[in-house]
C-alpha cells in the first residue's frame, strides 16, 4: 500500500473511532489551559518568542561555525565526536562502539533521532538488549509500537490497557492506578540502570560556546542513564545548536511552557564531557554522534530553512485539529503533526509524503503555538506548490484547464449551468457512491441545490 492510501485509510478509521477521540481529548484537555496560564506568567511571551526565533536563526544560519566550535570544546575534554551523513552510518558508528566495548545491554533515555534511524530494531537484530527507560517509551516498546507523539509517546493508551500490558509482559500490575503502574516501571528499571553496559541519550540543545549538550526530561531517567553505565552515547541532529550558554535561560522555560505547560521541566542537565579527573562518577567514555540524515537538504531550502529551528516541543501537534482527529500513528512518520508534515517531505521524499501537507485546514494554529515562530502553515502551502509544480496531477490539471475554458466563455457557462440543473436530481441517486464524480467531496457533505434562477439571470430580469 502506498503511503498516501495508508494515511487515508487509517485517517478515516481513526476519525470515526470514538474511543480514540475520547482518549486524546482527555489527554489534551488540560494542556491548553495550563499552557496558557504559564504563557500568561511571562512578562512578554511574544518578545520571548521573537528572541528565541532570532537566536535559532543565528544558530542555523551559522551552523558550520557553531558545529566546529562545539566539537572542538567537546573534544578538548575527552568526548569523542562522530559525524554521520545518514541513518546507516549512525547505526554503524553506534554498533562499532558497542562491539569495541563488548557491550550486551543498553539503557536508553528518550531520543526521537533514534526512532528516526530505527536504532532499536537494528541493535536488537544484532543481539543487544535495548531497554527504553522513559515510561512512555517503555510502554510503547513493550507494545512493539512507534511513539504516538514526540513528547507523550503513550498518550493514546488508557490505564486499563497499560495495566493489561504490564500484566502480560512483566507479570506485575497490582492495579490500574497510574501511581502503581509507574512504580512497576520504576522497579523494573532500577536494576537495568545499575547493570547496563551502555547508556544512550538524545540531546535537546548543544551549546557551541561552552561545548555542552543539554538534556531536558521529567523522570530522572536521562540523569541516571548519563550517570551509571561506563559508556555513554548521545545521538543528536546537527540542527540542535545554540550559540551561547546563557541562551538556555530563555529556551529551557520556553520549551517547558510550550511543550507541557510547565514552568520548567524537572531536570535540565548540561553535559560537557565524560567523567573528568577528580570526579567521582559518570561514564569513562562519552561518544557524541552528530546526525545529518538530509537535514542539510532542508538547510539548502532557504524558504523553509526555519523548520530546522524546531525544538521538538510538540506544541504544534497538541493544537492541530488534524493530529487530534487522525492521531499520531496515522502519519506513519517519526515526526508527526504539523512539523512532521512540513519536514517529512524533505527528509523522505516530496512525492511520497506530499499528502501530509494536504491534510491541513490551514487554520494556522500550529504557527501561532510554535515557540520559535516557525512559519508552519505557510510551509505546508509551499510543499503543496512544490509538489504540484514538480509533478502535476494529470486529472487535476485537466479539470482546471477545462474549467478555465468554460468559465471564460459565456455560452459554455450557461450550457454548463443548464446541464448542471438538469442532471442535479441524478446526483442524489449516486451521491457518495463510486458513480459520483464529486465523490471525495460529497461523501461527507451535502451539495447545495442549484437554484432555478442564477444570480446573473436575476440581475438581468430585475425591475
Amino acid at each position: 500500500m502506498s503511503f498516501v492510501s495508508q494515511f487515508k485509510s487509517l485517517a478515516s478509521e481513526k476519525t470515526r473511532d470514538l474511543r480514540h477521540r475520547s482518549v486524546i481529548r482527555t489527554a489534551l484537555r488540560s494542556y491548553e489551559v495550563v499552557r496558557d496560564k504559564r504563557k500568561a506568567a511571562f512578562q512578554s511571551w511574544e518578545s520571548a518568542r521573537q528572541a528565541a526565533a532570532e537566536t535559532k536563526w543565528e544558530a542555523i544560519n551559522h551552523l558550520d561555525e557553531h558545529l566546529v566550535a562545539l566539537t572542538a570544546k567537546l573534544e578538548a575534554r575527552g568526548t569523542k565526536v562522530h559525524w554521520a551523513s545518514n541513518g546507516a552510518q549512525a547505526r554503524e558508528i553506534i554498533s562499532q562502539i558497542l562491539r569495541d566495548k563488548k557491550a550486551r545491554s543498553i539503557i536508553k533515555s528518550k531520543a526521537m533521532t533514534s526512532e528516526e534511524i530505527h536504532l532499536n530494531h537494528a541493535l536488537e537484530k544484532e543481539g543487544y538488549t535495548v531497554v527504553e527507560s522513559d515510561l512512555g517509551e517503555f510502554i510503547v516498546q513493550l507494545r512493539h509500537e512507534a511513539p504516538y507523539h514526540i513528547v507523550f509517546p503513550s498518550m493514546h493508551l488508557t490505564r486499563g490497557e497499560i495495566k493489561d500490558l504490564f500484566q502480560k509482559e512483566l507479570g506485575d500490575a497490582p492495579s490500574d492506578s497510574p501511581e502503581d503502574l509507574t512504580m512497576v516501571a520504576r522497579r523494573v528499571m532500577r536494576q537495568k540502570y545499575l547493570t547496563a553496559d551502555v547508556g544512550f541519550t538524545g540531546g535537546n540543545f548543544a551549546i557551541a560556546e561552552t561545548g555542552m549538550i543539554s538534556i531536558t526530561e521529567n523522570e530522572g531517567n536521562a540523569r541516571l542513564t548519563a550517570a551509571l553505565p561506563k559508556t555513554m552515547i548521545t545521538l543528536m541532529g546537527i540542527e540542535k545548536v545554540l550559540p551561547r550558554f546563557a541562551d538556555l535561560a530563555l529556551f529551557l522555560p520556553m520549551l517547558a511552557t510550550a511543550g507541557a505547560g510547565q514552568p520548567m521541566t524537572c531536570y535540565n542537565t548540561m553535559y560537557s564531557g565524560p567523567r573528568q579527573p577528580g570526579e567521582c562518577d559518570g561514564p569513562e567514555e562519552w561518544h557524541v554522534v552528530l546526525l545529518d540524515n538530509r537535514r542539510t537538504e532542508l538547510l539548502a531550502n532557504a524558504e523553509q530553512r526555519d523548520s530546522l529551528h524546531c525544538i521538538r516541543c510538540g506544541a504544534c501537534l497538541n493544537v492541530c485539529p488534524i493530529f487530534r482527529n487522525v492521531g499520531g500513528h496515522t502519519y506513519g512518520t517519526t515526526y508527526s503533526g504539523p512539523v512532521g508534515a512540513v519536514i517529512t517531505p524533505h527528509l523522505r521524499g516530496l512525492q511520497d509524503w506530499k499528502h501530509l501537507s494536504n491534510a491541513s485546514t490551514l487554520c494556522g494554529g500550529c504557527t501561532e503555538a510554535c515557540p520559535v515562530k516557525i512559519d508552519l502553515h505557510h510551509h505546508l502551502l509551499q510543499n503543496r506548490r512544490n509538489a504540484s509544480t514538480s509533478e502535476p496531477a494529470f486529472f487535476e490539471k485537466l479539470a482546471y484547464q477545462t474549467f478555465a475554458i468554460v468559465a471564460n466563455e459565456p455560452a459554455f457557462w450557461s450550457l454548463a449551468k443548464k446541464i448542471g440543473w438538469l442532471t442535479q436530481p441524478l446526483q442524489s441517486l449516486v451521491k457518495g457512491t463510486a458513480l459520483d464524480p464529486a465523490k471525495a467531496w460529497t461523501k461527507t457533505r451535502e451539495l447545495p441545490p442549484q437554484p432555478l434562477e442564477s444570480f446573473k439571470d436575476w440581475w438581468k430580469n430585475r425591475k
Binding site: 532500577r190 562518577d281 526555519d306
Partner: protein
C-alpha cells in the same frame, strides 16, 4: 587509521554541504508577523530577564516566590532560622521515614548535616558502589543556587557529590544558605559562568521539583525514576 579517515571525511562532507546550503541566505524570522525582526549585534536572548515571569524586587518577596513555586512543584521547602536548626529538621524527616542509611558527600555543610544524624553514611567523593547507594534512604547534598523564579535548585557534580547522588536515592535533601537564592534563570546562568568560567563541571543540572511523569493518561505521578521527594533545607 582507516576509521579515522572515514570519520574526518564525513565531517568535512557534512560541513561542506552546510556551507554550500548557507550560500543562499534565509529570510529573517518574524517576516510573516506583526513583530518586526530587529537587527541586533548583541545576543537576542540577552534581554530574557524582561520577558520571563517576573520575580519580586526584594529578597523577602523572592523567598516567598520560591516557597510558592516549591509548593506548586510538590517539593518541601523549609526556611530555617540558622544552621543550628538543621540537625533537628533532618532528624524529623529521618524518623518519619525510618531512614537506616544515607548517602552524602564531603562538604562543609553536608558533613555537618550527615554526621548529626548518626546513621551510616556512604560518601561518594572517592568513588562508591552504586548497588550500595541504591540501598540508601536519602541523598544529602549541597547545591550551587536556588532560583526564585522557578523554584529550582542548581547542582553540579562538583558541588553535589557526583552525578548519581541527587537522583538515585528516593529522597533528595538539598542544603542551602540564604545567600544562594538568585532571582531568575539569567542570574543562575551568570552565576555559573562566573563561578566555573573555563572549567565547568562535566554535569550541571537544574532540578525543578521531584522526579515526575505524566505518561499514563497525563496524570501526575511523582518519583518516576529519580527521587520521589525533594526537600530543600535553607538557613
Amino acid at each position: 587509521m582507516k576509521n579515522e579517515e572515514i570519520i574526518l571525511s564525513e565531517r568535512e562532507k557534512i560541513l561542506g554541504r552546510i556551507r554550500e546550503a548557507l550560500k543562499v541566505s534565509a529570510p529573517l524570522p518574524g517576516s510573516h508577523s506583526e513583530v518586526a525582526a530587529h537587527a541586533t549585534t548583541e545576543s537576542p536572548a540577552s534581554h530574557a530577564r524582561e520577558w520571563l515571569p517576573s520575580v519580586g524586587a526584594s529578597g523577602a518577596e523572592q523567598f516567598d516566590l520560591f516557597a510558592k513555586n516549591c509548593a506548586d512543584l510538590k517539593a518541601d521547602f523549609q526556611l530555617l532560622n540558622n544552621r543550628e536548626e538543621l540537625p533537628a529538621a533532618l532528624q524529623k524527616i529521618a524518623a518519619a521515614e525510618k531512614w537506616s542509611r544515607i548517602a552524602s558527600h564531603d562538604g562543609e555543610l553536608s558533613n555537618f548535616a550527615s554526621v548529626s544524624l548518626g546513621l551510616p553514611v556512604l560518601l561518594t567523593d572517592k568513588g562508591y558502589d552504586v548497588q550500595e547507594m541504591e540501598k540508601c534512604d536519602a541523598g544529602i547534598s549541597e547545591c550551587d543556587a536556588l532560583i526564585a523564579q522557578t523554584g529550582g535548585v542548581v547542582v553540579t557534580n562538583r558541588s553535589a557529590g557526583g552525578r548519581a547522588l541527587s537522583v538515585l536515592p528516593p529522597h533528595h535533601i538539598v542544603l542551602a544558605r540564604r545567600e544562594q537564592l538568585v532571582a531568575d534563570l539569567p542570574a543562575a546562568f551568570a552565576l555559573l559562568q562566573q563561578k566555573y568560567a573555563d572549567n565547568y563541571p562535566s554535569m550541571i543540572s537544574f532540578i525543578t521539583g521531584p522526579s515526575r511523569t505524566g505518561d499514563i493518561e497525563r496524570i501526575l505521578v511523582l518519583g518516576a525514576h529519580g527521587p520521589k521527594k525533594l526537600t530543600i533545607l535553607c538557613f
